[in-house]
Amino acid sequence: MGALNHKFNENILITSLDKLMNWSRSNSEWYFQFGLACCAIELMSTAAARHDLERFGAMPRSSPRQADVMIVAGTVTLKMATRVKRLYEQMAEPKYVISMGSCANSGGPYWQHGYHVLKGVDQIIPVDVYIPGCPPRPEALIEGLMHLQKKMREEPILEKKED
């Protein structure tokens, strides 16, 4: 959206557009539908009728191309880590990552003897929100998503990043 930069003397329009877009982005956190271990069960139950993630506009997408949020739900084995990284790279910007559960945060129960487990998914992809728990309850996952919503709302998206 850099095309809109410097087109207006005052930034009034940009700011309001920013707000509008961030509001809509934060209320349509489409997450990538995949799970790696037991935490995925909790992710499924969060999406199912009782907790109903879709009331926040968050719905599962089966393709990384359509997803905004990657919820890393479960144990990231070293074998899977290469795939997780590739899937993350296939997602379109802007993209966010939620690390769900102790395994994805730090290796969890596999911290000491997990010869096959990556000790924290943040070693391979940048993480926006960490959710503790083994597994985190659906309420915790929802809170994580709400933190992410907050982050999205505060982020200027129309301003071209000078980098």
């Binding site: 070293l78 074998k79 290796g107 911290w111 010869y115 096959h116 000790k119």
Partner: protein
Amino acid sequence: MTEQEIFEDLSRKFGDKIIEFMEEGTQNPTVVVDAGTLAKVATYLKDDVRFQFNSLMNLAGHDADGETDLSVIYHLYSTELKHYITLKVFTSRDEPKVASVAELHKTANWHEREAFDLYGINFEGHPDLKRILMEDDWEGYPLRKDYVPAEFYRGMRIEKVK
């Protein structure tokens, strides 16, 4: 047929290739068989009408202490006669090899690959012996007691605790 009777019959047929009968200290009475003869014993147990061990319930590799021989354990069951037997073979740590029973029992195919993957036991005659759980370029056999994890795998740090 009880395990004791099966052991006695096997001893008559295969002589000193049937090494011992273990009843104490194991959950299932176990016949220890010479590694070179195992395939013959399994075929005999499957084909003989008195045994009909047509189901291999489980096949597992085992490393007792990181020093002595590795072993492979076979849990057999007859769906016809409803009896069980457990076979065990020992094989050297440096050059572990056992004849494959994958042609005899289809179950053995993946189980042998698992034992190969995690213990490095070579199953001779297996149709497709390659790693099943770990990545193909993994080094070492992780469930061996003397296994020391590498520091990195494809640039990812493995151990965090010393």
